[in-house]
Symmetry: C2
Subunit: 167 residues, 2 copies
């Protein structure tokens, strides 16, 4: 996967859980909601139609109770290996309006996210890449705390997987 440092953000981590468990945490609503937002934010709703052109929709809630709906569309679904979706399209590959997807042209941005999973002696090599349309979108996302936010969410995911394995 080409990486353009002007336009793309990336988080690479080795996590002590299996590829199959990471895949489930990304693709089953009940296993996504517990970890998807850095707490004290929460994910209160999630809809997944796991096929290219299928919807990926979440609703995040701020600690003050404000709701932030996100709507996107899957582009590639390669079980246990690679998951790609974008907020530039909605269900059925229909183009999204920037204003609908992002709230406002100023703060929002279109992106495509790619989760890649590979075997690693310690568990799974986890690579999350987010591609933006332009430098401004990439910088906006970086300034929002992409790396910290996605890192904390990943920690929450690993803790959830380990906790459910102990049950």
């Amino acid at each position: 996967m080409n990486f353009n440092p002007q336009l793309d953000l990336r988080l690479v981590r080795t996590v002590p859980v299996s590829r199959a468990d990471v895949w489930r945490a990304w693709t089953e609503p009940e296993r996504l909601k517990p970890w998807f937002c850095p707490r004290p934010w929460t994910t209160i709703d999630c809809e997944i139609d796991l096929q290219p052109g299928g919807v990926f929709r979440t609703t995040m809630q701020s600690p003050e109770g404000q709701l932030f709906p996100n709507r996107g569309c899957y582009l590639a679904v390669e079980t246990h290996q690679r998951l790609v979706w974008t907020n530039a399209l909605s269900a059925g590959f229909r183009p999204s309006l920037m204003t609908e997807t992002c709230g406002s042209d100023e703060a929002g941005f279109m992106f495509t996210a790619i989760i890649e999973l590979a075997d690693d002696p310690q568990g799974t090599l986890y690579t999350a890449t987010v591609k933006h349309a332009d430098v401004k979108g990439c910088q906006t996302h970086a300034a929002m705390g992409f790396e910290q936010g996605w890192g904390i969410a990943l920690d929450q995911m690993v803790a959830m997987i380990q906790s459910s394995a102990r049950d």
Copy 2:
């Protein structure tokens, strides 16, 4: 395929050529350029990377010599059956800037195009569906002459296929 008459445009025709020939005319640059623009417009360049995430790029030329580049990305490639691409994304599924894709926010619009081919006693049932983000984009495309333009191009395609069969 759901059809929303507020947001989608569609051309349905039976054409007296095979699905395989229509597929080649859509997916091989040298077989696309002769028919893709209603004459006297021409298609002077075409790049095709026929896989989801691969580029679909054309350059049209007006009778006055002005160039109009178009850049999109394939979303689904089902040989002889279904071809889907969008100008809302560029190669590698990267979101496109509206201003880059469409020249200006006023005249342009994002779309996803779906070509579906089915067997028919007379040859091939050809269905071209174009999905837009909003009513305005759909109306803009209709006012530009979607139905006539795509119809003329299809006639040119059929003539090219029949002509090359006679060679």
